[in-house]
Symmetry: D2
Amino acid sequence: MALTGVLRPGHVALRVLEMGPALKHYVDVLGLIEVARDKAGRVFLKAWDEHDHHSVVLREADEAGMDYMGWRVDSPATLKKLAADIEKSGLASDLGWVPAGEHPATGERFRFTVATGHVMELFAEKDKLGNDCGTDGPDVNPHPWPDNLRGIAPSRFDHCLLYGDDLDGTVKLFREVLGFGLAEQVTAGPDGSLMIGAFLTCSNKPHDIALIRQPVKGKFHHASFILGSWEEVLKAGDILSRNKVSLDIGPTRHGITRGETIYFFDPSGNRNEVFAGGYIYYPDKPTITWTEQELGPAIFYHDRKLNERFLQVFT
Amino acid sequence: MALTGVLRPGHVALRVLEMGPALKHYVDVLGLIEVARDKAGRVFLKAWDEHDHHSVVLREADEAGMDYMGWRVDSPATLKKLAADIEKSGLASDLGWVPAGEHPATGERFRFTVATGHVMELFAEKDKLGNDCGTDGPDVNPHPWPDNLRGIAPSRFDHCLLYGDDLDGTVKLFREVLGFGLAEQVTAGPDGSLMIGAFLTCSNKPHDIALIRQPVKGKFHHASFILGSWEEVLKAGDILSRNKVSLDIGPTRHGITRGETIYFFDPSGNRNEVFAGGYIYYPDKPTITWTEQELGPAIFYHDRKLNERFLQVFT
Amino acid sequence: MALTGVLRPGHVALRVLEMGPALKHYVDVLGLIEVARDKAGRVFLKAWDEHDHHSVVLREADEAGMDYMGWRVDSPATLKKLAADIEKSGLASDLGWVPAGEHPATGERFRFTVATGHVMELFAEKDKLGNDCGTDGPDVNPHPWPDNLRGIAPSRFDHCLLYGDDLDGTVKLFREVLGFGLAEQVTAGPDGSLMIGAFLTCSNKPHDIALIRQPVKGKFHHASFILGSWEEVLKAGDILSRNKVSLDIGPTRHGITRGETIYFFDPSGNRNEVFAGGYIYYPDKPTITWTEQELGPAIFYHDRKLNERFLQVFT
Amino acid sequence: MALTGVLRPGHVALRVLEMGPALKHYVDVLGLIEVARDKAGRVFLKAWDEHDHHSVVLREADEAGMDYMGWRVDSPATLKKLAADIEKSGLASDLGWVPAGEHPATGERFRFTVATGHVMELFAEKDKLGNDCGTDGPDVNPHPWPDNLRGIAPSRFDHCLLYGDDLDGTVKLFREVLGFGLAEQVTAGPDGSLMIGAFLTCSNKPHDIALIRQPVKGKFHHASFILGSWEEVLKAGDILSRNKVSLDIGPTRHGITRGETIYFFDPSGNRNEVFAGGYIYYPDKPTITWTEQELGPAIFYHDRKLNERFLQVFT
């Protein structure tokens, strides 16, 4: 968690073209747990080791992509303070409050749009559902994993990678107002001074949000979920193939973050990632810089080159 | 890192009976890197993925055990504030400052003794040595791991487990003054209200320090170092056996923290652990409670019972 | 498979005290598949990647232990020839034929008792059930693993370890008549000439049967089932603990065979093992010899010492 | 080993364009051990867990590719018998004997050319060098792995995949004369009766040699070396990238054999594979058939499609 009180990515709201196939994908194949539906037809999901009520929100729409990403902060006081800080910073637009209950089991959310066109939210309250591991009550004498897992079964929603134009504005807000660290960056340009990729963290994880500079607004590259081991990445690949899920790339390793990864698409074309590994980040760790010439191994350390799809396909 | 600004366990200072065998153990077998010696004969070591100058300090003495454990805070201002908070709390004794340079490449340290008799330190400055992964300069286009590893080669010093009597006093200081979270606890007593084990964290890791209630003062159970996978735990066991290192227990899994672990002893009888795995902790995660009857699986999840050595042997 | 035509351990017949708890153990926890019951109440089971009709036979009895172990040979002609060879050798007693159909879906079996008192069988015919991986018919376009696995789910029954007195006689029969290789041996005695352990193979696996010299006749130490990885050994330990199965030892590594292992007991006290790893054996590979002083690491490579239970508890 | 007495792939002789870079690749990166050079400049190598004197032979030439592949049989008598059988079969050409000593530490070899144009050899004698694991003499009280490994360090040379036209002739010889099993096949053609891929085994491994039908003679697709785990496949990918070795594809899983794999090229363009996993084969296991439509997942189970390079690039 950042010293500002931003704890973690709390939810991502995705648009899907049809809810039926989407749920088959996110529940049966990816292995998330459906926890609620609302009157508008939105479906709320969580991963097995998340205590919060939900971390993924699906909505039917004519176009795939991300509606917004929400960040859990440690307290209502922090929520109030950060909302004011964001407003004061001038680095976001369309600021406003979403009332408590608009997401089930969730308090009020402060919503704003960052320079790359993505809608972000902060919130301080969401009910706890626990993780089904406890044997003598929730959180009492737990097993290390529940016995009702199915599909790939990542333990948590981990981060998003987003595409947008004004990278500097968004990075400035996350770093200077929300207190994120810049764990890694990709630089380009004649003197290497143009940041074309930013991997930002509010935790000891190598990234909680990543941004790539592209001449677009508010685009979504992928939502990522965390696994426990490289062997689980292999099993994920097996499960994806068995279910004829459209694979993007992997299993492989990222240079950036060292993560062990596999990418694939939901039936609406939204990219997902499951991954394992990475290092322990601290705010005083020097930022890792990747130069443009080493962009290949930065993204796919084994292949040492990008596939075009990675840059060109997003929602 | 805690919202108070305490970032991580920064160093542990251990007493060894003879420096030669100790270095064979910590460098050749465990795989730490020697970075400095001082006039007093102390040897300073780091793990390969730590950026700080050192994390382990060895000193020859007539009796094994831990001299002190040091905590990195985010800034000199935090150091000053926390020193004042500790003094004000009345929860520590023998407070004082160790001047900059007493540890090489390290700023001044605020030293104090907690209720269980352990000496703790806070510090804000230590030189960065980096991790030997960068290919075009430190932290530029890095490989995921350096190619000069030897021995078990954990990536970082992770935490200590300590034995002492006044658990409540020490836990109170870590939680209320330093801002640590209580990730897990073991309870006992007629009504289950006596905390006999506390697993405290200032990060997203399940523990940065752990304490077990025993009728002693200032005792050391183990220092732990983190590995990347369960397979590395197996290889650690192989390396320990090849070198005829005295094994305590493992490979196995902890119920507490879910860690995958192996314990062993340095030539002076100080216990070490290397482990992998565990979950991602956040300050709003409910504390996990283990009841006394389930102490077996809490500590060794597979064996479901303690070996006597785990409770009775410490330094 | 041995050049004589002995292919593999085809089945092990075990006595259990109560069938209900035994099936809960072997089906729900270990993850074998029940394929048949006969009028006598025997239950026939197979592991998921075995093609043969069954590999484990359970029978209710007043005392736990092994009734017999059966070996699949490549053809009826080999069966006939080896039966004659065994008779001629004088190394077995109580020779005779069990008629086809006495085991469901199985041809006639040649039964004999070896010098250590264990009942062995050879057979050439057993129906094939396949492995549930094929997608367009059995054995057509298969997935790497079926999606209906439960429990620990080893892929195959692998070997047995047996205790008996006249080791030399049994080893002589397996080597000289059945064509097994001696992959590893443990030696003792004043001049190291007494073989106290023999690890015999009719395949490229390090062992298909193992024998330990003990002053008993026809005793059973364990039946072993093979897993795909060290991570599956960890998961096996987790599943055993969740189900409160009595653990013997592990996860750990064997010096002998290099296997990565965990031992546990069925509800009747019969020991089971699941393991991964080991090397590729060929008939021209030199026999590995373990001396008595290194018996500890030979059996448990990490602990470097035997637990008494390993030697004293058998059925 | 086949019931005929063919034990294993004993060696592969490869042509490289320049010996210096080739040795850097095969020794420093792949991690084979150089054991001998002869007057003609050939270099003989072995993997760490092979007992035989050598398994890879490198020769400088103007064109990359495979000179021949040699098969270890169990005895001189078998060698003589199989040489006669091959001659009698009419399925091979250019038959002849290579005298003992032409390869260092190796007995006479019977050489022949199969229908696809590949040169094969049988031999019965090669000196044993052992595996550096023994602690009290070779093969006495061994460690599970030696402590002088470097690079990727596969334990053994495992198999070759070859490209050629008259697949039927070569498969017929291996099956009917040498006693290999057809573990898996790929079929095509209007009625699925054309075998376009054959995976043949003389052991309990899923393949010892594989052949793909292509309108060429005597071409080499890859030589493969075996690793102990999927994690070692990841580390292999890391080591290849660090050394800027040209990667073909992987890490990924094969549908055929279930192997976990990564492909790459030596500096001369010869393809190598390192892999882990696979199943246990027996001669009575039904042949697995892959239909042409499922060729994608057959080769690369996760991607579910071939890359052109896999079919078009060979030496």
